[in-house]
Amino acid sequence: MVITGRVPLLLLLGLVPVVLRPSGGTVWMWLGVVAFVVLLDWLLASKPASLSFHRPPVGTVRLGYPTSTTLTVVNEGSRGLRGIVRDAWQPTAGAVDNRHRVRLTPGDRVLLTTPLTPVRRGDLRAAGVTVRSYGLLGLAARQQTRVVPGTVRSLPPFESRKHLPSRLARLRELDGRAAVRVRGAGTEFDSLREYVRGDDVRSIDWRASARNRNVVVRTWQPERDRRVVLVLDTSRTSAARVDDVPRLDSAMDAALLLAALAARAGDRIDFVAGDRRIRSRLRSAGSRDVAARLQDTMADLQPVLVEADWSGIAGAVAELGRQRALVVLLTALDPSAVEEGLLPVLPALTRHHRVVLASVNDPALAALTESRDSIDEVYDAAAAEQVLRRRRRTGELLSKLGVDIVDADAEKLPPALADHYLGLKARGLL
């Protein structure tokens, strides 16, 4: 039972009879009258259970962009209903103005639209719809909360999108559409065209020239239709925050940039995310909208505080196909986690694939080594040096196994990884 602000006002009105007839009896009589009227009003309020709700799927939205959810309310009861409907969402869904006044005659239907502005990545859920149905006098109300499922998927922001145009320009240079031509092992035959001055004489195709009136050269294009497997580690090391951004989010950014670039270069992209078990996977996305599909796949991934099961993840990578691929491990270069989990399975991976490990470097470590004013700071600096030394050793160990290391700050990791990919492509190492 819910009362409205009119009840205290009605109680205050009892001052009049009390002044006219001052006694305790008057007070209790007035209280009785008010209680009776309120109870009567409550009994007369129509039941919220007579409403039925339906919510169409909200869909996806980019983080920080506005969208809205629509709730269809139908009065299936035999009496009219006047009241308030609150469509509650979890706070980061940004559901403001979610209280709607409704006045429904029997059989009436109304659409209630609540604006949403997600401020957090992932699937954000509706918490429940609360109906408060007022009585005829507006003194009391019945209230009920019902579960009406709803989810808005907030996509990772893809902040490194700004690096895409410059990397695409470099890709076009590799593609042979620009003036600079690249030749070398691993490149593929593309087409024949007429010789122009400046072309490498070694690329003249003599047989074709013999059949033709002009001198003809072969052109080459960088290899296409390679596979890129992005492996996203969602284990405990991905939960660690660098400048208050989880490693996982920085890794996602890097993965998105690389996927967008590789898709333009004509490669196929597979994606696996996991820790102790595989969280999500995406197969052979070679189309242009790979970034959007990848965003959708990664949207609800959250760091989990468990150790990664690298043999399981390596198995998932193997399941994606036997064809040689560029396997990008987006994880942390954390000595203990790498030595105990990743190292045993690496030989199997490097035998079939080219492996790159991309890790977010913490600038706080370097800062820690530099401040040496007090004894506490010196011990911290010694500890940081120790950690850096172990990281370096782990990196050297991985390099010996044939793994490339891309270790950069959160901001610089996506372009660094993209550049590394372009470098491999230019050298025909995919």
Binding site: T369, D376, A382
Partner: protein, 372 residues
């Protein structure tokens, strides 16, 4: 000069005089002097006591019983041969007055100089007449007991009433109510030093010697209940308490109205917050806790050596001598000094101070090599 001063301050003097009079009246009406040696007590032989009249009544054959508490009063027998006297009613409260009237049960009760509040509680509708009283007051009433008597009083108050004796114009010094309660407006009738003036003694004896027995009740403050005192409540309008109850009920209603939420508060599933640097800092604190200077110094030297080797394009491990030589050449420092800094040959720092100095020297060396 003096006349003009009086004339100028006429208003102030008037107000002052009225205030003084009001204070005097309050003192008089408030129940007389409040002295500790019990005025008008039947056992007080002093000027303001009433031992004389008690003795005379006793001699005249009236059985005088003195009781000093409400319980004692209820132990005495009050029948149609008894009269009750309250000579000093200043300690009479609401509850003790009720007990007095209940016990008297219609038999005559004489009360001296009651306050207006007490008159009300005694069940009389008389009020106090504040007009001044002449020194000599004649009976001027039909009561055969007082027909030819004249009182001489200094202080006293008159009460309004239909059939009073010793009238003073607007009221009377002696008023009897329908329930047998008699009010006497002056204490001069009973006090030892005034009883002999005029016909005071005769009036007192005829008033109090009417019955065979006289119960002389001296009220006691200890018999009063807590609520007998004059509280703020009696000065406020009587609807104030029910109105406060109404306001309290409305406040409860207000709280109920505001406290009920429109659905439960929605909680956010919060992400875990793990700072990447946290483990490194903990390691630093561990070193600090056990004062592991050896380990810390080794880590610092090792890191500095590796960094310098990178800068001078030397292989990292296993070429200590060459590194020391190159660094010494680059910076122009003696080789021994560089070796003491970079290699374990420099020894383990023996105090925190030395460790801090070593750390800063290594940093300075690094800066020097970078600059050169």
């Amino acid at each position: 000069m003096s006349t003009s001063w009086v004339r100028r301050n006429r208003a102030l003097l008037l107000v002052g005089g009225v205030l003084l009079l009001a204070v005097a009246l309050t003192v008089v009406l408030g129940g007389g002097p409040a002295r500790s040696d019990a005025p008008l007590d039947p056992d007080n032989p002093g000027p303001d006591g009433a031992q004389a009249i008690a003795r005379v009544l006793d001699d005249q054959g009236v059985e005088v019983t003195v009781t000093r508490s409400a319980d004692g009063l209820e132990d005495t027998v009050v029948d149609d041969g008894t009269m009750v006297l309250v000579s000093d009613p200043s300690a009479l409260g609401e509850s003790t007055t009720e007990r007095l009237l209940e016990h008297a049960d219609g038999e005559p009760v004489v009360v001296l100089t009651p306050s207006p509040l007490l008159i009300d509680e005694l069940g009389l509708d008389s009020t106090v007449n504040s007009a001044s009283i002449p020194e000599r007051v004649e009976a001027r009433c039909d009561d055969p007991r007082f027909t030819d008597l004249t009182l001489e009083v200094d202080l006293g108050v008159a009460y309004t009433g239909d059939d009073g004796c010793f009238g003073t114009g607007d009221g009377s010094l002696l008023v009897t109510g329908e329930n047998g309660v008699t009010l006497v407006g002056s204490t001069d009738l009973l006090t030892n030093d005034r009883i002999t003036d005029g016909d005071n003694a005769a009036a007192a004896l005829r008033l109090l010697g009417e019955r065979e027995r006289l119960v002389w009740y001296v009220p006691n403050y200890e018999d009063l209940l807590a609520e007998d005192s004059v509280s703020l409540r009696s000065l406020l309008p009587d609807w104030i308490v029910p109105a406060l109850v109404i306001v309290a009920l409305a406040t409860i209603g207000l709280i109920w109205w505001r406290a009920r939420r429109l659905g439960a508060l929605v909680t956010e599933p919060l992400p875990v917050v793990v700072k990447a640097i946290e483990t490194t800092r903990s390691r630093g604190r561990l070193y600090r806790k056990v004062n592991d200077r050896a380990h810390a110094a080794e880590a610092l030297r090792d890191a500095a050596g590796a960094r310098l080797a990178d800068r001078l394009h030397l292989p990292r491990a296993g070429h200590e001598q060459q590194l020391v030589r190159d660094v010494a050449r680059h910076t122009g420092r003696p080789e021994e000094q560089v070796a003491a800094l970079l290699t374990p040959a420099g020894g383990i720092p023996t105090s925190d101070h030395e460790l801090v100095r070593l750390a800063n020297d290594l940093a300075a060396l690094d800066r020097e090599v970078r600059r050169s």
